[in-house]
Symmetry: C2
Subunit: 349 residues, 2 copies
């Protein structure tokens, strides 16, 4: 499997996800600013992958700093980090990755600058490795919820491409397949960015996991026809009460699942929890450019001057979530207790 | 306003709806076969517009027939009609328009062939005129359900372009605006064919009715935010019990509306009723080409070889429908009684 992101030769190397599946192009980000740009333009996307890329970005940012002492170094680093943190607002993993790197920097304040930079490089690599391990753990827990022969619907791409590898929602599906279960996936295309059509279908086909592509508007149709047994999606941020911010359209899927008595599972690492927020109402929802809705493949589909809305995420309230699959185990309602317990000390903040 | 379809100079002239809004190109169909092709390829679409175009097609088909007597004429006409009836399966208006023309032909069996052909031409024009009148009547009835200041969500295009003029769902909105009400429209883009983005937004902008374009996946988000007061959609076929076949995604909208306690109205002329079908389960659902999902503006979005589903319609069960607005009045549940009463003798069959 192609690596989503890796630290090589002084660069964070990413597969350009805006050009998949027709073109496989890698982008080398050599500065923290270039990493920020890659996150903003969705060359790399997916909450966990953004967290990993951000950590690598902080390491690259640190490498570029010349300073007399730790305080000089750290004040420059903090400034760069603040800017990187602005690249996308909804996924909490961005802040999580940056904060963890800043903590490591502060803990290493007595090291020489070269040693500290090396320490930060190692930490970025650790975060990357831990993400894959977390996804495999999530898969082990989550696959117990998926039965042999199940038709699993997913939205957006919560796969290997949304993480350092293996995936969250698709990691659960992969683990079920690895456990010998026959799984059929229904992939919502996920307008406007088409992460489902472009990324989910591509990575499942690479793994020979049967997948059928549908438009987002067909999810209800296939549930009504009893062709969906379970829904598994990822998350960009989960509040303390279990409200889940995820790609726009996830809320719609959760309502449809509830109406059809279909379990609705969310798969996300502990780093996606934001226990500082009591509920999803506090999660900032990114508004992206109208052009992403109106222009497809360089052709304008809507009339010039059309008024367009583009909230990139929505919030699924906890009462529509059957369970949250994490790398520490499965959280069941009431989530305020179960998430807190699973998170222990490792969650945000 | 541009005419959707009109009978001129021995042709059914249509605006090519596959090329709107960027190009305004007219297509002259000079034979019944060309009309069938235009319906199949969605140069013209929308149940009422298909009914009108079909009637014009039958007239063109009749014009081309050479025969010794009525029986020879009618057997040729019937064959052409059977073929035309195959062009799209879901909208009942197609069969309705054809059957009405055949009835008129049979009623004129004692006319000379030139007089009969003239009679059929006149009937096609009458069907076209009646459609506009029906939409205006529907608008008058329907606008009473829309309050000043309402945010109205619609799916697909049930507008002037889906009819001979004025529109069904958009006709209700137009009538509300004409009655002095301030209305804001939310238009679902309606994947895969994007009738919302391309057609609904265009025709509302032409009429200066405020409209905001959203992806289908955002409908739930805006309902959750209390930015939708009422839903109005069109229909391709309505069964005797009030089950409604309409563009894929309509069912999803109806479930979301129910969940958010938002009225869900269907606007359709009596010609869209098919009282021969007890329920929506009997309505044939068209499966269209996978390419319409995977290829946008000549660029493939999903990987080569991806498995794709493309049901072009879905069925909204009657319990999710608040009321059905027709040109004869508003039908309320239970629909089996109310529709039968409104339809009187004019419905299918």
């Amino acid at each position: 499997m192609i690596k989503t992101v890796e630290l090589v030769d002084g660069a964070a190397r990413m597969i350009d996800q805006t050009r998949l599946p027709t073109e496989k192009v890698f982008v080398d980000c050599r500065t923290i600013e270039e990493v920020g740009h890659a996150i903003k333009t969705m060359i790399i996307r997916g909450a966990p992958a953004i967290g990993v890329a951000a950590a690598m970005g902080v390491s690259l940012g640190a490498d570029a700093i010349s300073a007399e002492d730790f305080d000089g170094f750290y004040s420059q680093l903090e400034k760069k980090c603040d800017e990187l943190a602005q690249s996308r607002p909804t996924a909490v993993n961005l802040a999580w990755g940056i904060d963890r790197m800043k903590r490591v920097a502060r803990a290493g304040k007595d090291l020489s600058l070269p040693a500290l930079k090396k320490r930060l490089r190692e930490e970025a690599q650790t975060i990357c490795d831990e993400d894959i391990a977390a996804n495999r753990a999530m898969g082990s827990f989550g696959q117990t919820l998926i039965a042999d022969g199940n038709n699993v619907l997913t939205h957006c791409n919560a796969g290997a491409l949304a993480t350092a590898g293996f995936g969250t929602a698709l990691g659960v599906i992969r683990a079920a397949v690895n456990a010998g279960k026959k799984i059929n996936v229904l992939a919502n295309e996920t307008r406007p960015f088409l992460q489902g059509a472009r990324l989910t279908v591509w990575e499942l086909m690479e793994d020979n996991i049967p997948v059928k592509l549908i438009t987002d508007s067909m999810a209800g149709y296939f549930m009504q026809k009893k062709q969906v047994d379970v829904v598994v999606v990822g998350a960009d941020r989960i509040a303390a009460n279990g409200d889940v911010a995820n790609k726009i359209g996830t809320y719609m899927v959760s309502v449809l699942a509830k109406t059809h008595n279909i379990p609705f599972y969310v798969a996300a690492p502990i780093s996606t929890l934001d226990l500082s927020l009591a509920s999803g109402e506090e999660i900032p929802i990114e508004e992206r450019s109208a052009d992403e809705v109106t222009i497809i493949n360089n052709k304008r589909m809507a009339p010039e001057g059309a008024v367009v809305a583009h909230p990139a995420f929505d919030v699924t309230p906890n009462h529509l979530v059957t369970a949250i699959i994490t790398n520490k185990g499965i959280a069941l309602p009431p989530f305020t207790e179960s998430l807190k317990k699973l998170a222990g000390e490792s969650a945000n903040p």
